[in-house]
């Protein structure tokens, strides 16, 4: 399967009379975009703001972040959610670098545990989203729109915006091109046969909080009783998987730019053979967890024939146990594993970092501690949180978990908890 990402390098984003890319600038017709999003009756009062790197600006109530991507060869955009249900992962996809769509959640009182993005200051060094030009979408629930419907609607608004913006680059030659070309794992060329085979086990949701009716995760499916399955890595890079509605420490943007998949691709053919992605969900009952671990290990070891596997999770302790169980089963089948975990200690002690584990899982990378605090300075303006502007505009004490993008569980962030 071969996917070509055609990148336009954007250095400026500004409002304009039409939506287009001119030079390294993206101009956005905010009225047209607003009208496009307004057609969804589940939303009312759509507001679009622009936030730029370096500005004294704080975006509040962040629900999700998406990367601008559009298929201009007839392929599906975010199949099953925006576009038609077809396989993703091949053909041509336009992408805008340094631009992100930030979707806020106006349906909750207070901050409700939602994240912030500071475009400058101490928090800015921790997240990629302080370096992207952010198109911030705020929309309020329509009359009679339930919570779950509202979240589906704002997510859709973000995805539509992502497609809309990337389309603007369609008539420009790309500034750079990335090709993701991977044959089926059974067709490894002779020259690569000696390389260790590596799979990625991607836990895409945890059912501690079961998905809602509109909460599509994999090709728009709510994956409620999903058994482990295998996909081609390009499918993940091309819109087949998105983040659910709950939880922090993960954005759709990070999934679209999946760091583990990119890292394995960059080593593919040189130090390893990337043989595929196993998708799992973390379960809430023991029998389901045991079944899932056994099947995932089977896919990794016996079907993909992997020698090694990287694991990530989405969520807290129970997803960690789920991930660790699958990894332990892989180790028992002779597959070497590395897991990306969070420092889960609540009192800063190193014993508390990893409350659950299995012997043999000795290669752990951590994405930092969510509980560590920092104080953010006052800012000149606040976006996405009108009702909270008074408090959010001043200095605020936050934890890492409140900073969107600072702790990305699939490994996109650079924070790491060290023991001292």
């Amino acid at each position: 399967m071969r996917l070509t990402l055609q990148w336009s390098e954007i250095e400026t984003v500004r409002a304009g009379a039409t939506t287009r890319v001119v030079g390294q600038a993206l101009e956005v017709d905010l009225d047209e975009l607003r009208a496009l999003l307004d057609t969804d009756r589940r939303l009312q009062r759509v507001r679009i703001d622009l936030a730029h790197p370096g500005e004294s600006c704080r975006i509040g109530r962040v629900f999700d972040v998406m990367a601008p991507r559009a298929k201009l060869d007839g392929g599906p955009d975010f199949p099953g959610v925006v576009g038609t249900l077809e396989r993703a992962g091949s053909g041509l996809t336009r992408a805008l670098a340094n631009v992100a769509v930030v979707v806020t959640d106006q349906g909750l009182q207070g901050t409700g545990g939602l994240a912030l993005i500071d475009m400058s200051g101490p928090a800015a060094t921790l997240t990629e989203f302080a370096r992207t030009h952010n198109v911030v979408i705020s929309a309020w629930p329509g009359a009679e729109t339930g919570r779950s419907e509202y979240l589906a609607a704002v997510r859709l608004a973000g995805l539509k915006t992502a497609v809309y913006l990337a389309r603007a680059a369609g008539d420009r030659a790309p500034d750079r091109v990335e090709v993701f070309d991977l044959p089926a794992s059974t067709r490894v060329p002779a020259a690569s046969q000696h390389l260790p085979r590596v799979a990625y086990v991607f836990q895409i949701h945890s059912h501690q909080r079961p998905t809602g009716v509109d909460e599509g995760i994999l090709y728009g499916d709510t994956i409620r009783r999903m058994l482990p399955t295998v996909v081609h890595p390009n499918e993940v890079l091309d819109g087949a998987v998105m983040r659910g509605f709950m939880g922090r420490s993960a954005t759709t943007y990070a999934i679209q730019n999946h760091p583990v998949i990119r890292a394995l691709y960059s080593e593919h053919g040189r130090t390893l053979s990337f043989v595929g992605v196993v998708l799992t969900v973390a379960h809430a009952t023991e029998p389901e967890r045991v079944r899932s671990a056994a099947m995932a290990a089977g896919l990794v070891a016996e079907v993909l024939g992997a020698d090694g596997a990287v694991f990530t999770k989405m969520g807290g302790g129970a997803p960690h146990v789920d991930m660790a169980q699958a990894a332990a089963q892989c180790e028992a089948l002779g597959v070497k594993t590395t897991l990306i975990v969070e420092d889960m200690s609540t009192d800063g002690s190193s014993e508390g970092m990893l409350l659950f584990n299995f012997p043999g899982l000795d290669a752990l990378v951590n994405v930092g501690s969510t509980r560590e605090t920092l104080t953010l300075p006052a800012v000149a303006r606040v976006l996405g949180a009108d009702d909270l502007a008074l408090t959010l505009q001043g200095a605020v004490a936050v934890s890492y978990t409140d900073l969107c993008g600072a702790i990305e569980q699939i490994g996109a962030s650079r924070s790491v908890a060290v023991v001292q």
Binding site: Q208, A284, T285, E286, G317, A318, V321, A324, Q325, L355, F356, N357, F358
Partner: protein, 61 residues
């Protein structure tokens, strides 16, 4: 979460019916749910009466 229980050293462990309803199941009728609950509790009582030397998981029959 039985592997956690094993890891921290709990000696008598009985798997229950899930995180969100360890001793029940909303999909069952009330009498069936109570029967399920009784079965798990009785298994727990059996575990308390068993000799164990190390973390042991007592599967419900």
């Amino acid at each position: 979460m039985t592997p956690v229980a094993v890891m921290v050293g709990a000696n008598r462990i009985v798997p229950a019916a899930g995180i969100i309803h360890p001793l029940g199941n909303a999909e069952l009728k009330p009498e069936e749910e109570k029967t399920l609950r009784r079965r798990i509790v009785e298994q727990a009582l059996q575990a308390l009466q068993a000799d164990v030397a190390q973390p042991t998981v007592f599967q419900a029959p």
